[in-house]
């Protein structure tokens, strides 16, 4: 009888621990998903701004076709990218293409003086900044989640219930130091 009670007590404790750890993992995973959704919102905003920007630049510098096409192609890759690693690589490539575009735009004072271009540039710069914050927020959430998945005792529950580590959203190399997003 005593043995049965001890076994029962151990079973109840184990089930309770399983529930607690499982719930903790689910909460962490939801935080990661929510953080990813925030990045997604900002990335979509960025993608929506680019066609307008390309059209505006084309109006003043139509013969810079190579640069404009590079931006359009990079945007297309970024829009169709899936998963944090692929998305991060595509977005970083798009950032590079945009930098080239803004460098080209500097040679056109009339374009620079245009209110539309200036507003788009400002909006894009703010969006980049929001993406940087969203990325930091997401990576913090992933760190918490991955720590839970990889450390004892939650790693046991994670293994049984199929929780896997998530990928970080990597920053462009030049943003790994002090960040100041400017085009």
């Amino acid at each position: 009888m005593t043995t049965l009670l001890v076994v029962l007590l151990i079973m109840v404790t184990l089930v309770a621990a399983l529930v607690v750890f499982y719930n903790r993992l689910v909460t962490s995973r939801n935080a990661v998903d929510n953080a990813w959704a925030q990045i997604d919102v900002q990335l979509r905003r960025r993608h929506e701004l680019i066609p307008n920007l390309v059209e505006t630049v084309k109006g003043y510098a139509a013969h810079e076709r190579q640069t404009l096409e590079a931006v359009t192609a990079a945007r297309a890759v970024a829009v169709s990218a899936t998963g944090p690693a692929e998305q991060a690589a595509a977005e970083n490539a798009l950032t590079g293409a945009l930098r080239s575009l803004f460098a080209v735009a500097e040679a056109y004072p009339q374009l620079q003086a245009g209110r539309n271009f200036s507003a788009l540039q400002g909006e894009l710069s703010d969006t980049e900044n929001r993406i940087a914050y969203s990325r930091q927020y997401y990576n913090d959430a992933v760190l918490g989640y991955n720590n839970a998945v990889q450390t004892v005792p939650t790693t046991i529950v994670a293994g049984i219930t199929g929780f896997r580590v998530r990928e970080y959203f990597a920053a462009p190399d030049e943003e790994r130091g002090p960040v100041q997003v400017r085009f």
Binding site: N34, A35, Q38, G122, D126, N129, R130, A132, Y133, S134, Q136, Y137, D140, A141, G177, P178, V179, Q180, V181
Partner: protein, 467 residues
């Protein structure tokens, strides 16, 4: 003597009766809540906070002002996640602002990174004198309310003159009573007279000043009644759980809801007039605002007792710890001998216990003090914690928390007071520290904080570059 005392009591009573009459005459006209309405009057949220807070300004006024600036697009509030929202400074021309709005905007500007962004949680940061800032904010709000005829000082000039002038009478009576009671045969009565008179006049004048403050005018009471009606209306909109960034949708009504106390979450999310949290700091190291948790006790079993102490203090604590450890081990030795028949003498147990408890951390302390390492990071918290206190003095342990960019949890190092005084939150410093025992031996400011008063130079400090 009893006659003089009785006379003093009578005139003092008369003075208090006069005070009561003037208090009744100068009270705010009754405020009658109006019907629930969504119509906004021209008063700003901060002034509304004053009118509906019985003519006393609450902390909410500063948060409501920032929400109002966001509603008017002077700044924007953006939500990044459930625990992170940003205030972004506007790029365009600045609208004309009132002095208290300017104070709030200047505070945001001082905190903003190069991108013109402050995390909303970081609004409590900065090196401003919060008391002085709040006093200036309150003065500016009251000035606007007075200019609009909604508020006035409790005492008018004549009322103040009457009260202070009338205080001379009980003062004189108290002087006479003091002269009768305390004049010595060899001295004249003037000393006790003036002593007693001055004491009473000063006390009554101080009371008059203490009771002074803001009171509402007829127009102010009418406006307050209208705004209470607006509060009823906004209460129905269920804004209590709306985040600050919801101002994008709600506009100015959310700012007024914050001022009227029915938008608690939005107010809590904008700690403009709130002191910074000791254990939760916002850091902008790396260019992006993030939260850093600050621990004032070190990791591990020794952290509670030895972390953040100077080597000498640690040594003293170790020696103190040796006595109870030896006693405990001695008792164990007696028990071991009695119950288990241990051949070891209890005294030997005692000595061994003391050596184990003291020896390990002593070795650790020696190694840590010798093998100093360099730590580079941004100062995110400077705090003094009370070590001991008596009637005459208080001594503090000084701590500096550095965000080195490697972890969201940092352990605040102990530091000598003179070095601590040379630092400002936001400074990027290079420190020579004992990492395991949490003590900074030397510190050098690499980049001065933008919160440093004056020109931000650190050259004037004799210890800023270490010793």
């Amino acid at each position: 003597m009893p006659l003089a005392l009785l006379a003093t009591a009578v005139v003092l009573g008369a003075w208090f009766a006069l005070l009561a009459v003037l208090l009744a005459a100068s009270r705010t006209p009754p405020v009658r809540p109006g019907p629930a309405t969504g119509a906004l009057r021209p008063e700003s949220p901060a002034v509304v906070d004053l009118l509906t807070g019985d003519w006393e300004l609450c902390d909410e006024a500063a948060s409501a002002t920032l929400l109002d600036l966001a509603a008017r697009r002077v700044v924007t509030l953006e939500e990044i996640g459930p625990e992170l929202a940003l205030v972004r400074l506007g790029r365009g021309e600045q609208a004309e602002l009132t002095p208290y709005e300017q104070l709030v905007l200047d505070h945001v500007r001082e905190l903003a990174t190069a991108d013109g962004v402050v995390a909303t949680g970081a609004l409590a940061e900065g090196a401003r004198n919060l008391g002085g800032w709040w006093a200036a904010f309150t003065r500016a709000v009251i000035a606007e309310a007075r200019a609009a005829g909604l508020s006035r000082r409790r005492w008018s000039g004549p009322q103040r003159t009457i009260l202070v002038g009338a205080a001379l009478v009980p003062g004189a009576a108290a002087g006479i009573a003091a002269a009768v009671a305390f004049t010595k045969p060899d001295d004249g009565p003037l000393g006790p007279f003036f002593g007693g008179a001055l004491l009473v006049v000063a006390a009554l004048s101080a009371l008059v000043e203490r009771l002074d403050g803001e009171r509402g005018t007829e127009a102010g009471a009418a406006a307050a009644g209208h705004w209470l009606g607006v509060r009823e209306h906004l209460r129905g909109a269920r804004l209590l759980e709306a985040p600050a960034a919801a101002v994008t949708i709600w506009g100015r009504p959310l700012a007024y809801a914050a001022a009227l106390g029915v938008a608690g979450r939005a107010v809590a999310g904008l700690p403009v007039a709130t002191p910074a949290d000791d254990s939760r700091a916002w850091s902008d190291r790396g260019g992006l605002w993030h939260v850093v948790r600050v621990e004032y006790r070190g990791p591990g079993p020794w952290g509670r007792f030895f972390w953040g102490r100077s080597p000498l203090q640690q040594l003293g604590r170790l020696l103190l710890a040796a006595i109870p450890s030896a006693g405990f081990a001695f008792v164990l030795g007696i028990l071991a001998r009695a119950l288990l028949g241990s051949p070891v003498e209890p005294e030997v147990f005692g000595v061994l216990g003391a050596v184990v408890v003291v020896g390990v951390p002593l070795l650790r302390l020696a190694l840590d003090t010798l093998a100093r390492s360099t730590v580079e990071g941004q100062v995110v918290r400077l705090r003094g914690k009370v070590r001991s206190q008596n009637d005459s003095s208080t001594t503090y342990d000084h701590y500096v928390a550095l965000d080195d960019g490697h972890s969201r949890t940092v352990y605040a190092f102990g530091i000598a007071e003179d070095r601590w005084n040379s630092l400002v939150e936001g400074d990027v410093v290079r420190a020579t520290a004992a990492r395991r025992s949490g003590w900074i031996h030397e510190v050098e400011v690499v980049t001065a904080s933008r919160h440093r008063p004056g020109d931000g130079s650190v050259g004037e400090s004799p210890v800023a570059s270490g010793s």
